[in-house]
Subunit: 338 residues, 2 copies
């Protein structure tokens, strides 16, 4: 254990590991992100911009809980652990600025697995303009990852969960349930590794909706917003609770998966995935009725779909095509229920 | 796993857990720390102060690696996980401003264990003026903790590891090795729970040297600084490497443990603990020769001791009382060597 130090005269191999991580990220300059001091000291130093407030979020990504070493390629683990944490920044209408990586690894994973992981993480870091600021490493019998992302949003902007009011129109980005169906594909057919289109890509390499979140917030379109990480039924219930409202969702308007491999699933299972499947990292947002018609059907190639309306009645209802109304109960992911 | 959601109609119990954590911290206002939005949304919002830069650090605190559930009281786990992360902020001469808590728990620990943990964490949070900003929770078969601390230091201040120059005088705060000896005491005698003076207190409830770090940086006394978390021999080697220098430490000047129970240990084991024992969270700092005499022997009750000098020769030497010179090899904690 940590508390009984190793009296060894060997060169510290933790240092080697940290150097290796640093070398992977050396090409991604943090200067434009405000980073003044990255890996290698007691802490990182970052310079916030005037007229901005700082957004802080952290996320677990644990072997056996959030990914499986034998199914998920290390590149995808690297990409996804950062992308899903950045999604929380997008949900506040912010821009990611830098991140911290806490990594615990078995000795057997410090070779190829780590290289793949760092490649995927570096790709996400470059794509999302979110350089590595620092972190912590230790040895462990399972792979444990924790990511902290620091973001920024203009003072007085920022979209909370708590601003929805009765009459607001409810929108989602993208198509829902694809990540969940992608996970089914991944479990079934490990041979699909090379084909990353459609569902599988959505499961392995989700893309946080940063541009959309920025556009919505800068145009003051949203009254409330959050990202869909645990499934529409669970996440919408949280937004409604935070706002003290309810919602009525039109079943026919929920955008179901249409990506490659989707036809392999029945409409029923595509609907279930759309309502309860997690990991989509799309945005769920509410817009005052008078502004709702200014939301285009697509922005930067991402569909924006009105799926229902905020209600005074404090429950979440699902309106069937027939007009029949049922309750939409939270059926998404909850680690303490599994 | 995370990727197969639970289709359960029950109320989410993760929500209950998050509410419980939030209720423990409700009395500690984050307003003075710049917190604008804490627990309960996608992310926290924090307002940095003008003329300050932000310090970012994160730290693992894992059952079996950093603490043992059957030996370490949950209150101590709660206190220490935050205190040791804040120590990295102190080492930069900064003030802690807020923190994020990532917590993975077995279901069996959500009762008494969690209450004790939250009590200890809340006590540290209040004492260190570092309110809870947010975090992430999940279920796991072992207790996993990750703490991110956000701190601030004046622009242009901040003390790095890399500024030491030959001729600088090397100081440490406090007495070294006490946490390591405290760990030996804790292992031997679990009945000491109530008696938290001296060594045991140092092991269970370390106090980051925030005031000292601030004082040193605001008076521009230090050329290089870091905190002693892995043991003097390992940490000094890191400081020397970052600065491109070496050091000569006077064995007779190293401040050995003198706390309660210390007499139970031979001078040899007290010296070994002082040189290689980790977890002290004292500060190691270098001062230009002309400023060194302005360092008092004590500040706010904490001893400040000159233990050696920075050298041009790039090795760390230990000078015995006899004048004999030996190499001080890194013998502290390295998770990848254990």
């Amino acid at each position: 254990v940590r508390i009984s130090p190793v009296n060894s005269a060997q060169q510290a191999s933790e240092r080697t590991l940290i150097r290796r991580i640093a070398s992977y990220f050396a090409a991604i300059s943090g200067r434009n992100s405000g980073l003044r001091l990255a890996i290698g000291d007691d802490a990182a130093i970052w310079k916030p911009r005037p007229a901005f407030q700082t957004i802080l979020t952290c996320d677990w990504f644990l072997e056996g809980t959030h990914f499986l070493r034998e199914i998920h390629p290390p590149e995808a683990v690297g990409w996804k652990c950062l992308a899903r944490a950045v999604s929380d920044i997008a949900a506040m209408g912010g821009l990611p600025r830098c991140f911290l990586l806490s990594l615990a690894l078995p000795g057997s994973c410090t070779g190829n697995w780590l290289s793949g992981f760092l490649r995927g993480l570096r790709r996400a870091s470059a794509k999302l303009h979110c350089p590595l600021a620092g972190g912590d490493t230790t040895r462990r019998n399972e792979i444990l990852i924790n990511i902290t992302v620091v973001g920024e949003v203009e003072l007085g902007c920022g979209s909370l969960r708590s601003g929805a009011r009765p009459g607001d129109q409810i929108f989602v980005s993208g198509r829902l349930g694809e990540a969940q169906l992608g996970w089914k594909v991944a479990k079934r057919s490990r041979g699909l590794g090379g084909d990353l289109e459609g569902l599988l890509k959505k499961h392995l390499y989700p893309e946080p909706r940063i541009e959309l979140g920025r556009w919505l917030v800068q145009n003051k379109f949203v009254s409330a917003m959050m990202d869909l990480s645990d499934g529409l039924s669970s996440d919408l219930a949280r937004l409604c609770e935070a706002s003290g409202v309810g919602a009525a969702i039109q079943r026919k308007d929920v955008p179901l998966s249409a990506g490659k491999f989707s036809s392999a699933f029945s409409e029923k299972s595509r609907l279930a995935a759309a309502l309860h499947g997690g990991d989509d990292y799309e945005l769920l947002f509410c817009v005052r009725k008078d502004k709702a018609k200014r939301i285009p059907p697509k922005l930067h190639g991402v569909a924006l779909t009105k799926i229902g309306e905020v209600t005074r009645k404090r429950s979440v209802q699902l309106v069937e095509v027939s007009g029949k109304v049922g309750l939409l109960r939270p059926g998404g992911w909850d680690p303490f229920q599994s």
